[in-house]
């Protein structure tokens, strides 16, 4: 039995999606949804099960922006830095959130694993710029003040 992941959970995911190379990305996404990140030890385990080399699977896991081999927070805050949000001043929002949580460009997740703050190239909510997404919910017309207020609400719901 592994420390960082439950083989039963990963087995279930693989059974559902099919133990074949073309399911690679879907499997990694499902495992990540389960753990909020990809525990390193899942890589060789999944690779053997679906019949690809460890190197190839690791290559896929590190190629795509959405996969993280580092633990992520319970709330993943994505500040949109698409063109429309950028010209309507999304940078101060990002800065406010990072300052409040003590995060930076390189340190994206709080030590208590509650919050991750990152940027996203575009949420496609350009009509509501600047926008922000917390987990799967989009928040429109943000300001640094509104972002901090939202953050405080999230903190209370922890």
């Amino acid at each position: 039995m592994s420390k960082t992941f439950d083989t039963a959970v990963v087995d279930r995911v693989i059974d559902q999606l099919g133990a074949k190379p073309s399911s690679t990305i879907a499997i990694l996404q499902a495992v990540q949804e389960e753990y909020h990140y990809l525990p390193q030890e899942t890589i060789p385990y999944i690779a053997a099960k679906i019949g690809v080399s460890e190197a190839q699977l690791y290559g896929v896991a590190t190629f795509y922006e959405n996969f993280s081999l580092e633990p992520k927070g319970k709330y993943i805050i994505k500040v949109c830095d698409g063109t429309a949000c950028h010209v309507r001043k999304s940078t101060p929002i990002l800065k406010a959130l990072r300052d409040e949580l003590g995060l930076s460009e390189s340190k994206k997740t709080t030590d208590d694993l509650n919050f991750t703050v990152e940027t996203v190239a575009c949420l496609g909510a350009c009509g509501l710029a600047p926008a922000m997404m917390v987990n799967d919910k989009v928040y429109p017309s943000m300001t640094p003040e509104k972002a901090i207020q939202l953050l405080n609400e999230l903190k209370e719901s922890l």
Partner: protein, 625 residues
Amino acid sequence: MKLNNRKELIALRKEYIAARSKELKKILVCTGTGCMASGSMDIYNKLAQLIKDNNIVCELALVKDPHSDDIRMCKTGCTGFCEMGPLVRIEPQGWLYTKVKVEDCDEIIEKTILGGELVERLAYKLNGTVYCERKHIPFYEKQHRMVLEHCGEIDPESIEEYLAVGGYEALEKALFEMTPDEIVQEVSDSNLRGRGGGGFPCGYKWSQVKRQKEFPKYVVCNGDEGDPGAFMDRSVMESDPHRMLEGMLIAAVATGATEAYIYVRAEYPLAVSRLANAIRQAEELGIMGDNILGTNISVHFHINRGAGAFVCGEGSALTGSIEGKRGMPRTKPPRTVEHGLFDKPTVLNNVETFANVADIVKNGAQWYKKIGPENSPGAKTFALSGNVVNAGLIEVPMGTTLREVIYDIGGGMRGGKKFKAVQIGGPSGGCLTEEELDMPLDFDSLKKAGAIIGSGGLVAMDEDTCMVEVARFFMNFTQKESCGKCTPCREGTRRMLEILERIVNGEGRDGDIELLEELSDVISNTALCGLGKTAPSPVVSTIQKFRKEYEAHIYDKRCPAGVCKKLIPIQIDPTLCKGCSKCARGCPVGAITGELKSPYHINPEVCIKCGACITTCPFHAIKEG
């Protein structure tokens, strides 16, 4: 219920058309991503509650035999006017309520639904005019909605409603009245050009796939809309998913493909769930899956979620990603039409292209060609955003001028600012200036002007935008998204980004512009895929049109728009300075001089803009700009 033949589909559609025609009084609540983010679901629930409390007879879905007195409340897809959301529309009057809040719901029910009166304060207002009806609002008046025809009209989660607006008629025609050759011919004759950016003739692509002898063949829909500032495809997938699925089915019938894949960006969870729902509904009715409508044609649909790589919008990277590999483009030829997904012949088009197909098959190529210019027929959706008054999703005939889009539909620039440029085509595109405002928007005209239609992102920028910083922004994006396979893109974009960063930080050198031009030339000629080849476009186009801005940054160390922080001089306000000398003592480069008890002065030649003085000044006398 499974439909076994054409007759059953026709009968079912007829029933729903009849039912929908009896729905006269409607409350349409927009549940596109934009309005949902602004709280439209709360409004929908509140209205439903109030309807119940007031014992109003109301249907929440299309039922087979409604009374013409009943009210119908419908969750619709995106109507495009996201800026004004949440939007609620009242039929038959056509009244549009904007920025509706939960507190407004009582009044809507009482005044409008029960009393038949307009709640004027919720109507859209512009320059002192109140626009009660949606069709008169300038934002909508100039549009020509084809692909977006049903967006905001029908419930995207209901196949019944899609059938009630003539859905799957084109598929029926393709299956029972046309040969595959005739379908391909019709699409070729229509001159439909790929809406994903390149403008490649769609019919020619299909004919090439049809010609291949190898099986299975695939149809792939590119819904990996990665351009920052673009959300057209998202709206189509979310608001009218069946229209796109119908187009894909027709492509499969025409080319002999049996498997269909939709690749959707991970950032679009609502699109994924609505597509999955639409596929399930169509399978249940026997419109897709095995033996479609009793024929021997079978097409199976799959949804693949992207994992956050812009390069996957490129054909061979996208198919690689579906196969479970890193999304890296490969050398071409062979083209996707010969060796695409799983190395088999593949039709690869984007969402909007597929969404055009059903109308072409249904109404014929001649009908389609009457809209827009001959070589770029049809309409095009644009995501209008940035510093315009009315941001949102629009659709206009190809050939509409930029001026009409920005001023008539977009309502001009916000806050009365001056128009500077519009960035079109995202990180692969270029910018158009004041002088090009009267240019028609179509594939060929834009190419001549050094820009591309791209997928259709239009970001309007006002006088407060620094074009060098915009170029840096896009280069930063492409550099991050470069997959790293070919050297010109991997190394070249990084070098270009370094130079641009240097310039906006006030460290630009003589010769930087020329170096950028040289790098641009090499990268666009030698990179492996479209991402690399077009990566320098924003730089080339801004140098071409705003060379003076680059020069001001490099030679005068000045940012004319006042955006680049490092180039904004730090000054001491002599009326606030008490001459305490604290700043001068703290300055790491000795740029501040003066005499005690009289105002100090910063020497801009020496100052490195570190900002140390700003924080140390006890009298807040030192400021940027």
